[in-house]
Amino acid sequence: EPEVTQTPSHQVTQMGQEVILRCVPISNHLYFYWYRQILGQKVEFLVSFYNNEISEKSEIFDDQFSVERPDGSNFTLKIRSTKLEDSAMYFCASSPRADRTDTQYFGPGTRLTVL
């Protein structure tokens, strides 16, 4: 069964450094998402992406964040200058479409630790 993959599984960085989290969505999916989950808290929507554009973004997704689909397979989340509070699990998801009945398939996550 096809699945979403994410790399790295764990990223440790110093405050102020830039990080890029990588995702390979399921190959025939057109919509891509990033979510995050701070330890012990809810899963929070960050951004959705379709046709090389951001479709929706939450208040969390400020100017420190950016997303890109640099080639036909990868989908990346960049955090320009990491803060301690960016420490969280970051999940990528993809779906074939974006209507209300469409299932989003989540990757295993990248645990980001900012020191």
């Binding site: 929706e56 939450s58 398939y105």
Partner: protein, 108 residues
Amino acid sequence: LAKTTQPISMDSYEGQEVNITCSHNNIATNDYITWYQQFPSQGPRFIIQGYKTKVTNEVASLFIPADRKSSTLSLPRVSLSDTAVYYCLVAPGNMLTFGGGTRLMVKP
């Protein structure tokens, strides 16, 4: 955006049927009800989705009464590996909004 309310936690024993109820009093006409499962340090996994009445798949059943103000996820004969957090979502569009979920603990 419809708000969902579900129990914070539930305990069960192996082999029992587990029913988790979610209330969503202000669900909109076009909203579907979706349930996800999440194991520790893993991404959420889709379980089941429905609009009204009953939906069943190989993993679970979803019961939705006529007024659609609540829904019940039914897990038949749970095992230890069903210990997880279960989320009820009522999401217009593609921006999934997760609540706190129900932490199900299955005991031997």
